[in-house]
Symmetry: C2
Subunit: 214 residues, 2 copies
Amino acid sequence: MKLYSYYRSSAAYRVRIALYYKNIPFDMVAVNILKKENLNSDYQHYNPQMRVPTLIDGELILGQSTAILEYLEENYPQPSLLPAETKARAWVRYFSQIIACDMHPLNNASVIRYIKESFEHSEAESMQWYYHWLREGFSALETLLQQQSKKGRFCFGHDMTFADIYLIPQVYNAIRFKFSMDDYPEILRINEHCLTLDCFVQASPEQQPDFISI
Amino acid sequence: MKLYSYYRSSAAYRVRIALYYKNIPFDMVAVNILKKENLNSDYQHYNPQMRVPTLIDGELILGQSTAILEYLEENYPQPSLLPAETKARAWVRYFSQIIACDMHPLNNASVIRYIKESFEHSEAESMQWYYHWLREGFSALETLLQQQSKKGRFCFGHDMTFADIYLIPQVYNAIRFKFSMDDYPEILRINEHCLTLDCFVQASPEQQPDFISI
């Protein structure tokens, strides 16, 4: 299995956590987004969206982290990243998709670039945009966590699930951009616990071979 | 089962198609986004994101169309909306998530409102933004369809899947905003076929009780 990854991509970070958690051996190929290596025709052949991550497994060439995570879960069901019961699985996917669909897409590198370059907004305005969607999303996530009857060290009680895999890279990103997480105590508590676990540490941007300290 | 829906929401449209296709009885409750009914505290209780759709099934309160579709598929597996083989399922989710994560979130009502009201951009500039993400997304989708070896009347050969359920509402939206689909012949061909089928007709915005002709 081969993963095209960029150390700072939240979506690639999600997939790395799952691969380490499930102990699936893989080769990593770094794609430097800042140097626009994703726009090379070689890479475009694998990923017509020219985004990371891409997972290659035999003849399968797969983009989109949600599709990759579901694929890994179906092929390597143990240890599981989804609860057994369908309503619980639904809650985990609901939580995850708030991040996948209503937070991350509004804040990824290509969108911020469009806002600065095509719309000619300042750094401050692009941060105002970023913070707006973070606030909306994190508020909803915090509410869901407070309503959740299964309390534990993870989003879904004592079981690590997709929900944690989406949450931790999004929190990493928010903190990197100096967004205050003070209003989200449940999220912070879970984040703190996850960051003590091997799979999150191994998958973290700082531990990647292509990490650049800036 | 109860679905909180808005006739013009692409995400609610997806869920309606699946409910009709699987022949699952449900009550529909209209939430008028233009009149900001989604911001009522009653609705916020069901959906902390204040977005549609929301599905209620007994004690389960579920937002996010991808989570809802996976839930319906797990509980009502026949007729199926995912192929049986895991690599084929992965392709269908990959295709679907390009729309769910990289097209629709950049173009939904709340984002366009932010661009016009907070960023004070003109109608023309917000359309330039909309078209930009449509072009990026549809180009990738068209490429995936042209590479797909299973040719048929649907995105995935002769089987209707999630991929069609995401595609048709996105094409509807693009056409509503006068975006030219001429560069995407495979998408147009599939769209034309799907629009002849009962579940797509029943789920279409024009057929909803809250439809308003404007």
